[in-house]
């Protein structure tokens, strides 16, 4: 199976390990990611707050590229990018006038018939049996909290993905690895990402609450499908520890990393060494050695 | 067809209880739609004879719309089910004799779906307009006429 792939800027920088693990995992699962040639910014950083037309035009340009390159669908692992794309597509479909202005701006025909697939959906469409068959290691007893954040599920009428308040789809994927998703309360709670630069304290408070609730409900790690979520939860723990000496580190894993582990891929290639919060304390019990299946 | 001034002639056969009332609702709600459709009120879609459609084309219609109650909602219990079966057969027959079956539209519009009625009318009108005049049938109509 071939599918278009739009990494976005995060996956080439702070979320390198996300990109790395995705490429590893999908090649293992026999899926060919065709990286969109000449892709450009999605507008998630500032365009959507400053210039509405630009915020639609930026994804639109990439959609047109996809069309030209013969892609029917693009897989967008970054939840922020994903969100920009679905919103832009939705707005152009609803508003022909806007679409026209976008076309003038990008000097291309804007195409809205390209499918947009997020990380969780990507795993949903792979045959469960295939993942189970390829599974080298059952991550039994590994208690994790699935954290969705905001961008995957909201606005729900546009993303049309899962339940905005009580999503459950990531848990279903996690179960395939043998890990046990815990029932917890803050899976869509705000992590404060938008205040990262301006008001760090808000971020720390909010992130801490999320991590604490996961821990209280027995999670050993939090699973995410968004580089924003990841950087906030992962990177902030050092600062949280400074404010709260009782804080216990909680590794934050990408969904792709978790799947990678169960597929028996080595931690190095999944980028697990690139995290701020050390993953080894919890992951050490899952050796990288591949055990032959019975 | 590129005749830009072409305004299609469309006839709609509708049931009294659902679609006609739905169209009333569109009016009461002051929704706007294109003015090409002339509606003929029947008690039930079960009353709609395929001959009506042929006659409409003979009378110069460029498109025909047939609309009634949603399945299960028929005021007369099952008229729309019988009608649906007739349409399945008749559509295929029209298609086979080369009468462009895409000029014949079918819809379920309930008494509360004023908006749907508007959408259906506009879509039907736009579609028929883009198809242009039904020249095939008009050719037949012209044979042995005062100017023919």
């Amino acid at each position: 199976m071939d599918i278009g792939y739009y990494p976005g800027c995060s996956l080439t920088g702070t979320a390198k390990e996300y990109d790395q693990s995705i490429r590893r995992v999908f090649s293992e699962l026999g899926i060919n990611l065709v990286e969109l040639d000449d892709w450009s910014c999605c507008g998630a950083t500032s365009a959507h707050a400053t210039n509405h037309l630009l915020s639609v035009a930026l994804p639109a340009r990439n959609l047109s590229l996809a069309k030209k390159q013969g892609l029917k669908e693009i897989f967008i692992p970054c939840a922020a990018c994903y969100n920009r794309f679905v919103v832009a597509k939705y707005e152009m479909e609803k508003n022909p006038g806007l679409k026209k202005r976008v076309e003038e701006m990008i000097e291309e025909k804007a195409d809205t018939d390209i499918g947009i697939v997020n990380m969780v959906e990507m795993f949903q469409r792979i045959d469960k049996e295939l993942i189970l068959a390829k599974r080298q290691k059952e991550l039994k007893g590994f208690k994790v909290a699935a954290y969705y954040g905001c961008l995957l599920v909201r606005p729900n009428s546009i993303t049309q993905f899962d339940d905005a308040e009580m999503p459950t789809s990531m848990e279903e994927i996690i179960k395939l690895t043998g890990a046990e998703p815990v029932d917890w309360n803050f899976k869509v709670e705000c992590c404060g990402a938008s205040h990262s630069i301006t008001n760090m304290n808000v971020v720390l408070t909010l992130s801490k609450r999320i991590i604490d609730d996961a821990a209280e409900n027995g999670a050993e790690a939090i699973i995410v499908a968004c580089p924003m979520c990841h950087s906030n939860l992962d990177m902030r723990q050092r600062n949280i520890s400074k404010q709260d000496s009782q804080h216990k580190n909680m590794p934050i894993l990408y969904l792709s990393e978790l799947i990678g582990l169960s597929l028996g891929l080595d931690k190095e290639s999944l980028g697990l060494g690139l995290h701020f919060t050390d993953t080894e304390p919890v992951l050490s019990r899952f050796s990288t050695a591949i055990v032959a299946k019975e | 067809m590129s005749d830009s001034s072409f305004e299609p002639k469309i006839v709609a056969f509708v049931c009294n209880w659902c679609t006609y009332t739905g169209a009333d609702l569109a009016g009461t709600s002051r929704m706007k739609y294109q003015s090409n459709v002339r509606m003929i009120r029947l008690p039930c879609t079960g009353r709609i004879d395929p001959m009506f459609i042929i006659k409409a084309f003979e009378s110069g219609a460029d498109g025909v719309l047939v609309s009634g109650c949603h399945p299960g909602d028929c005021h007369y219990t099952a008229g729309n089910y019988h009608a649906r079966r007739r349409w399945i057969l008749f559509r295929q027959l029209l298609k086979f004799v080369g009468i462009d079956e895409s000029r014949v539209f079918f819809s379920w519009v309930s008494a509360s779906e004023g908006k749907k009625w508007v959408d259906v009318i506009n879509e039907v009108t736009d579609t028929v307009r883009s198809k242009g005049p039904f020249t095939n049938y008009q050719k037949l109509n012209k044979e042995f006429t005062i100017n023919g």
Partner: protein, 665 residues
């Protein structure tokens, strides 16, 4: 010769603004057979109607076309006017130039052209109208009431009180409905059962009311005045004529732990049970899904202890047919169960509130049972998980209601009031307790309603917070209710001991099925549709079928009772006549050309086609043809479209009328 008059109504500005009425009238006079045409500001007004009457006399009109609003609006008016002028009312037809023309088009030229077209088509059609007279049908003066809640009981009592027989069908083992579950009722706080039970007993004992409990309506044939109803009396497994209601079987049943429907799962009941002590009739029913005998073939304890040998394990569903003239539908509502995702994709559940996960997150009806003196806690406010008195209770309104994104768009109407009542009852019983209510708006329209809510706030100090709740989660034995106070603009977190959700009122799950059995329309939520929202609120569009209570939309008790009496009076209006007059829109067979293939009979939903033998002078059978029973025919015309030789035609919508209407396109 046809002499047709065309009357074009301006409807004030309504038509006149977009349709050039004087031009239309001028165009109309050019049509063949039109001998008179005129436009006027309000055709339906007295002067307007008089114009028509005068023109009929002066111009010897024998047909009248009125270009005006929808025939659904004023066809009757204009036909009556014609009749007063001596013209057969069926020689009057309406061209709908308002709803289908002036109101939906902006362009005057286009709308005017369309109005002329519609008139031309109607003029062509009316040339093939002929005078008709109403059909008279006898009426069965007996009513069927479906649903034995307060609405059904009220309707049944009203009709029975007027001296007519009533069949009351209830699907549960007892009548009483949701009202029997309630503790007190707003805004008076009088005991629900105290006011309901006497009515239940009255209905049970009324000589004119025949009660079928644990029964459902399987099928309905016929039409207004003449329905034939099939009632399925479900197997109760207890012989009603033998049972004395002593209750010994209930006591002795070894199964004790089936969740009680009546107590909303907060208490248990045996396999053989009476739903509640005041049940009517006080006759137990065996729940075959939990009964040991039905599961394993052993036990029969109830049979052993019954002194009357009333237990009948063999009992089967019984089908009973009844002839009735009117039907009142009073099937009530259900509460939206938010723990399970609805099949309806529009409703996505409210899993974030933890209903079903946390025992102390309950819905409104469960709170009613807790607050009820006859409930599982005997009226003491104790939370379900540990039977402790909750000191802080949060009530959340609009769970599923007024929520287009996740729930239903409509307002469930009664929640504002019953939540105020709940909070008040709680405060009355737990004096040191705190009650919080999250609300969107308070809708307390009704006699004494707003005063009631004010009392809850001002006298009972219930804390109202305007905002929605995003999440309820458990933390250290408390339920953290996270929400927003939109008035002060801050996030709120309340550590509650119990949470009560005012979940949406939804239609009964089988509502659509029953509607299809009855042939009445319903909206997308499954609520039954009234024929006119303002002027005919208790009538369905099917003649002789009336609506009462929450099956039509969320209703409180006084409204339900009022609707029930209104529906009953509609039935009584019907019963006040000896014969029913029906529109003569029925099918008619051309016996000369009918060849007796009986495809008409096959498609007729009303069994209106009968076989008729045609004999020659000597009495020899020539052929068998179709014949229409005009009492049964409802005038759908499906036979007309099906008949290959067009030997059966629908009067009023006959082939010629439609043919020439099409031709005038």
């Amino acid at each position: 010769m046809m002499r047709i008059g065309v009357f074009v109504c301006h409807c004030g500005e309504n038509i006149g603004k977009t349709v050039d009425c004087p031009t239309v009238a001028k165009e109309a006079i050019k049509l063949p057979n039109v001998v008179y045409s005129i436009d006027y500001k309000y055709m339906c007004s007295d002067p307007g109607q008089n114009m028509i009457k005068q023109a009929i006399a002066e111009h010897k009109l024998n047909a009248v076309v009125v270009a005006s609003c929808s025939p659904h609006m004023h066809e009757k008016t204009f036909r009556k006017a014609c009749a007063q002028a001596g013209l057969n009312p069926y020689m009057c037809e309406i061209a709908n130039v308002r709803e289908h023309c002036s109101w939906v088009h902006d362009n005057v030229e286009e709308a005017t052209k369309k109005a002329v077209d519609l008139i031309r088509m109607t003029v062509e059609r009316i040339k093939f109208n002929f005078p008709l007279s109403e059909i008279k049908v006898p009426i069965t003066k007996k009513a069927l009431v479906i649903g034995g809640g307060i609405s059904g009981i009220q309707a049944a009592l009203d009709i029975a009180g007027a001296g007519f027989k009533v069949i009351l069908v209830e699907k549960e083992p007892s009548i009483g409905g949701h009202m029997s579950q309630l503790s007190e009722t707003f805004p008076t706080l009088d005991c629900s059962q105290c006011i309901l039970t006497p009515r239940m007993v009255e209905a049970y004992q009324h000589p004119n009311i025949k009660l079928y409990t644990y029964s459902e309506v399987d099928n309905v044939d016929g039409f207004i005045g003449n329905f034939k109803v099939t009632i399925r009396k479900k197997a109760r497994s207890v012989k009603e004529n033998l049972c004395t209601g002593c209750g010994l079987c209930v006591q002795k049943c070894p199964i004790k732990k089936a969740p009680s429907e009546f107590d909303e799962g907060l208490a248990n009941r045996p396999a053989i049970y009476v739903p509640f002590p005041q049940a009517v009739p006080n006759i137990p029913v065996i729940d075959r899904t939990v009964c040991t005998f039905f599961k394993t073939g052993k036990c029969q304890m109830c049979k052993k202890v019954c002194g009357r040998d009333a237990i009948d394990f063999e009992q089967k569903d019984e089908l009973i047919t009844e002839d009735v003239g009117a039907i009142i539908v009073a099937t009530g509502y259900k509460l939206y169960k938010i723990d399970k995702k609805s099949k309806d994709a529009a409703v996505k559940g409210y899993g974030e509130y933890g209903y079903g996960k946390y025992k102390d997150v309950i819905d409104g009806l469960q709170f009613e049972r807790i607050a009820s003196a006859s409930g599982p806690t005997a009226g003491e406010i104790l939370r379900p998980s540990d039977k402790k008195q909750p000191k802080k209770v949060v009530f959340i309104q609009c769970v599923g209601s007024r929520d287009p994104s996740k729930g239903f768009e409509y307002c469930s109407k009664i929640c504002c009031m019953y939540t105020a009542k709940h909070a008040m009852l709680y405060k009355h019983k737990v004096h040191d307790g705190e009650a919080y209510v999250f609300y969107m708006d308070i809708r307390a329209g009704g006699k004494g309603y707003d005063e009631f809510v004010r009392r809850a706030i001002e006298e009972d100090h219930v804390k109202y917070i305007r905002g929605r709740v995003s999440r309820v989660y458990e933390k250290k034995g408390k339920y953290i209710v996270k929400g927003e106070d939109t008035i002060s603009g801050v996030p709120v977190e309340i550590e509650a001991d119990m949470v009560v959700l005012a979940t949406a009122i939804v239609a009964q799950p089988e509502a659509a099925k029953l509607a299809q059995t009855l042939g009445i329309p319903y909206d997308k939520y499954g609520f039954y549709a009234e024929v006119h929202p303002k002027l005919r609120p208790v009538e369905s569009s099917s003649g002789g079928i009336f609506l009462a209570g929450a099956c039509q939309s969320p209703r409180d008790i006084p409204e339900s009772v009022a609707m029930a009496s209104a529906a009953a009076s509609k039935a009584l209006v019907l019963f006040g006549n000896e014969m029913l007059e029906r529109e003569p829109i029925v099918a008619k067979v051309n016996e000369n050309t009918c060849v007796g293939c009986f495809y008409c009979k096959k498609v007729c939903a009303y069994n209106a086609i009968e076989l008729k033998e045609i004999k020659d002078k000597k009495g020899n059978l020539v052929k068998v043809v179709a014949s229409v029973n005009t009492g049964l025919c409802q005038g759908c015309g499906t036979c007309n479209a099906t008949c290959p030789s067009k030997s059966i035609e629908l009067i009023g919508f006959n082939d010629e009328q439609i043919f020439y209407q099409i031709k005038a396109l």
